[in-house]
Symmetry: C2
Subunit: 457 residues, 2 copies
Amino acid sequence: MDNKIPYKIYLSENELPKQWLNLRAFMETKPAPLLNPKTLKPMTAEELSDVFCYELAKQEVDDTTPYIDIPDEVRDFYKMYRPAPLIRAYCLEKALKTPAKIYYKFEGNNTSGSHKLNSAIAQAYYAKQQGLRGVTTETGAGQWGTALSMACSYFGLDCKVFMVKCSYEQKPFRREVMRTYGASITPSPSETTNVGRKILKEFPGTSGSLGCAISEAVEASSTNEGYRYVLGSVLNQVLLHQSVIGLETKTALDKYGEKADIVIGCAGGGSNLGGLIAPFMVEKLQGKADYKFIAVEPSSCPSLTRGKYAYDYCDTGKVCPLSKMYTLGSGFIPEASHAGGLRYHGMTSTLSELYHQGLMEARTVKQTEVFEAAEQFARIEGILPAPESSHAIRVAIDEALKCKQTGEQKTIVFGLTGTGYFDMYAYEKFHDGKMTDYTPTDAELQKGFDGIPNINL
Amino acid sequence: MDNKIPYKIYLSENELPKQWLNLRAFMETKPAPLLNPKTLKPMTAEELSDVFCYELAKQEVDDTTPYIDIPDEVRDFYKMYRPAPLIRAYCLEKALKTPAKIYYKFEGNNTSGSHKLNSAIAQAYYAKQQGLRGVTTETGAGQWGTALSMACSYFGLDCKVFMVKCSYEQKPFRREVMRTYGASITPSPSETTNVGRKILKEFPGTSGSLGCAISEAVEASSTNEGYRYVLGSVLNQVLLHQSVIGLETKTALDKYGEKADIVIGCAGGGSNLGGLIAPFMVEKLQGKADYKFIAVEPSSCPSLTRGKYAYDYCDTGKVCPLSKMYTLGSGFIPEASHAGGLRYHGMTSTLSELYHQGLMEARTVKQTEVFEAAEQFARIEGILPAPESSHAIRVAIDEALKCKQTGEQKTIVFGLTGTGYFDMYAYEKFHDGKMTDYTPTDAELQKGFDGIPNINL
């Protein structure tokens, strides 16, 4: 064991980043802009600010400013749970008998249980600054809704969460955490919106979907005065806020003279991975250092590995702007899996473009393999990981085992985005041998591709 | 805001205590010894080692060695989640508009969700050293069972947990966390022990009790070769291991030149409070400094505030040694409450003796007041506390508000023993206005007192 490097590297509060890193500003070929679904022209900040807070809309379209100041109020909140530890997985290395050095950035040490809080607090701050009364959002697995509830509570904002009905019923404890923070939670589809009523009429007894919950949340933001809609992933603004993950990780490694060889993260909408790799990717883009980046996605929802790079709708209801991204089609409904946070048909435009340029790799893993890694990790490193995060653990272990074969002492860094305390139902399935895997056939994927609009700009 | 003191004080790994503090060694009048229930004579380490691991039995009876080395293997495990942060509650101070300085030692940043892991890993270590195959225990709320499962998994020991049947059914997720760590969980009463079968025959359909689960776990340790019984609170050995909480707290305060005026902890069996106050109490006993210590107990189970100081049985089945303690009687069944960890009829002998000597205060609080404080704290400080821990929060807030009235700038330190992620059912009751309070009448307490044996030594 290298005695100089502790198990947990905690940066001091002074080392907390003062600015977010805007990865797009460093890219020569920028990610394609969002398109207005009616005009098919690039969305301006003004247009976006009908739905989003104005400052966030500005951040969304800004692909030139390399660093953006983190407001003091947001930094003060960050100090309650950040800097997050970078942990040297000594026990895992020993158990795997690998020469590789393994580090993970742990974002689960806060009540929301994940990295989502990093962007939630920023979005709530800008909403408060704009003098809004509150915000609306949707949540599936519940991590984003929880994070936003905490952030809104802190700034005294109202928070209306549309929670996919089946999650609302299956995850009553997630719901109660949000209620503890004063949020109002509505099972979606609901009778409170036009779109909800329409869907309920058409599909009585439906247990809802993320696409529907988004539509309800967007509608509620427009019909309630003083409200805007906020979103926890996919958007550029979210990647910007999440860069705090990567910046802290890089500072911690630099401090101990460590250089990552491989950086691994799970990828649903891309918020965590985009944030984690940001400062490393900048060095790669500038030719200062080389890194291997691996995005890990579930075999049931393989947007990067098997999707098409095209303009597509971000939501099932087709009311949101179009984004150029790797997509399975907005009509693709991924098989139910226990990693709700990774069940998105597309991928944030920034990561899509980087992947398209060959600057990043992607890999799919099966659910049961993921839970094997999750349980192994929990037993060895003590932390019970979220199913989403465990996708990264799976690949980190695989890479460490490769090093064992080749004898290479690579430095592997992965993002441990959250804890699995509210996912024990999934662990139960796994323990009882009732968990199954799913990989869509080419024919099944084709159906989703058929719904992608034909837009060539 | 005092800029010199960060929100979170993280000690370095080098500052992790190398020795536990044995508070009894500093007491002039020692806590009374455990008595053999058959002979009513003080238990020797040899006698105790029929049930407990030998090293732990030695620690149990040792009231003279002031410091005991923490084995390297245990310290290595501690490094995965310790030193635990001492947090300056800047946000709470501001919200309360109090001149008081408030600090809390947060023990919830590990998968077991509480301080219980500090002793679980020590007990598992000594079991492994002794060459045992495994250990047995009982769990009610589930935090101890979870901690022990993690500890046993780390050392490759088998772990048999008897979980009170109503908890087993109501808290399936707690159960799954334990299964993730490879423990076998049996709902108690069960058909696997004589005592379980007897109880099931006598009370068909019973949902179990902690007293019964203890009896089953003790029986299982004696009928399975290579097993011993372990316990998560009440015992002196547990207080010894938990001294790591107080030692870290004091080191952190000293580092910033802070001196506590009031130290507050919730008290069920006394493990957390005994550990937190240990080094401060030593200074008080030595006349080096004065501190006000407050033990907080639920009004439904007021062992210190309304109990008798007498020798009593530690378990309902009366098979365990007798302990001199503040007790409500081993037959006292506390009203069901949402702070399962505080529903013990007695109090560890060390704290009982200190309280008897007037070195410590005690206070009761009502359940609904506790949850009000819990929710307030969650919203302001971001951490969702366990119901047990929230008893300490309630009194810390009360003391801070007193300072607001008097204008005194006292320094208040309290123990935040754990998180409430598996207690959301209780929060739901609170949100829905369905939570009630309970305070036993004198007549009800008298029934419990009637069962206390008449032992005068």
